[in-house]
């Protein structure tokens, strides 16, 4: 059964130095507050796994939390580059970052295989492209019926998954709605999981029988962090702060503006600022 914890306790017990962690959320419900907490706790040597590294991993990479990144699209959506990711890859700052690069289809299938407790995923992809030349983990199997050769990737089985969701109930069940991405798969594929939520409710109330719900017994820890997805968004709570995504381009472009921003907005703050940010995003919407 899931345990209710503070964000600091959750990050401490679920995301440990040197572990592999998938902090997922496909544009929606990105667990930014959890990422900030990991940075504040000075987490090191992480293998960061995420289809779209986004600002959350740009920040963690820039602060030196990561030794490896497993990803499929490393940009600031609709804006441009992730400058801290680029600085790490192009210049080794703050230190060298190992890349394991896939396509979205490969990672989505690899999470699915992880959730299904399979050692690998099979899909029709990577035909004619160069990624298999630089990623030795891309292999193939032959269909025993048709002889077709299909691409394979190893299942993703992270030590930890961290996601943000709309609600938990008192029993520790978790509800996600809207764009649900690969979060269910990430949690089921992981050894441990931490879910930050907008609110904890008595009961989810009337809902479609097929909403994405993670049962309490499939989750390790839950922390209430209102606004915890900001500047990403929580469907039904607050909108995506597109203006912050645009502003990030300038903040992250240079090391000193980045470090100053991180100090003022992460190192010297706590998770309670997220409720404030999300409140502003809600009003602006």
């Amino acid at each position: 059964m899931a345990e209710f914890v503070s964000l600091a306790e959750g990050i401490e017990s679920v995301v440990r130095d040197g572990c592999s962690v998938a902090m997922e959320g496909f544009t929606h419900l990105i667990p930014h507050a959890a990422g900030h907490e990991a940075i504040r706790q000075g987490r090191k040597r992480l293998t960061l796994i995420r289809m779209t590294p986004d600002l959350i991993y740009d920040q963690m990479i820039g602060m030196g939390c990561a030794e490896k990144l497993v990803f499929s699209w490393g940009g600031n959506p609709g804006v441009g580059s992730l400058h801290r990711l680029r600085d790490a890859v192009e210049n080794g700052w703050p230190h060298r970052l190992e890349l394991e690069e896939h396509s979205h289809a490969a990672m989505a299938n690899a999470y699915e295989a992880g959730a299904a407790n399979l050692p690998f995923a099979v899909f029709r992809g990577y035909k004619g492209v160069d990624l298999p030349k630089v990623n030795p983990r891309i292999k193939s199997v032959t269909c025993p019926y048709t002889g077709e050769v299909l691409a394979t990737v190893p299942a993703i089985r992270p030590d930890a998954a961290v996601i943000h969701a709309q609600k938990a109930d008192r029993e520790g069940n978790v509800l996600l709605e809207g764009i649900v991405g690969v979060q269910k798969e990430a949690v089921l594929a992981a050894k441990r999981s931490l879910v930050t939520v907008e609110e904890i409710v008595e009961d989810f109330g009337p809902r479609n029988a097929n909403a994405v719900i993670l049962p309490s017994w499939a989750v390790t820890a839950i922390a209430r962090v209102p606004g915890g997805a900001y500047p990403s968004y929580a469907h039904g709570y607050y909108k995506r702060a597109n203006d912050f995504y645009i502003a990030w381009d300038k903040i992250a472009r240079e090391r000193d503006t980045f470090m100053a921003w991180m100090k003022a907005n992460i190192l010297e703050q706590g998770p309670e600022v997220f409720a404030h940010h999300a409140g502003l995003a809600r009003q602006a919407a």
Binding site: F26, P77, S81, E90, G125, G128, V180, V182, I246
Partner: protein, 261 residues
Amino acid sequence: MSHTPMSHTATEMMSIAAARLLTDDDVCFVGIGAPSAACNLARLTHAPKITLIYESGTLSTRPSVLPLSIGDGELCDTALTTVGVPEMFRYWLQGGRITIGFLGGAQIDRFANLNTTVVGDYAAPKVRLPGGGGAPEIAGNCREIFITMAMGSRAFVETLPFITSFGHGKGKGDRERLGLKTRGPTKVITDLCVMEPDAETAELTVTALHPGVTRDQVQAGCGWTLRFAGELVETSAPTAQEIEILRDLHARTKRAHGVAA
């Protein structure tokens, strides 16, 4: 609505030329940026029943503003339904249910292969680009591919440092040799012209010039020596309606994203 000719930018012409290629019967896998503008312009003009899909899992979505990211809430709010990302890639894209995949890229070669991964060596890149995302399997699994990119000699290059998405490889027959059963890129819609793979060689060939654009201007924006079709047509100028609707869409989008219009 007035039909007086209006002046337009090259980027607007690109979106409009791409939009015109779409029909009510198409099921489009839409990327952010130029493809998103083109697909939604088609939906707001001549193809109101077109089906738009974004890789975040939103099926049959009808956004009133263009999303900044492929997972904006607007896409989910206006979708027929939203599925998880593994399902999106397995059942819908790999399932062969998409007629047109829209791609862009940092670089393209004469056989419509795309690079969005690196400039320079992969292990020690000069410029690290975002990577493939959905593109490699969009390129392989959609019935056909439309590419939209603004021209420029650093974008339209003789040799790609890295093939992120497969177009026609090194020429006609390469897709079939890899076992690909889809058509690959059939149109490249740029800000200056439209190109199509030659029926014999699969090399990109300019088939239409946008109004007022010369062959020399197109060649100047391309790093290889371009072929031009024998019957080179001129793209019809944007109608006032097309321009108005496109500009309204961009203005609504900028307001929604918190940027002054």
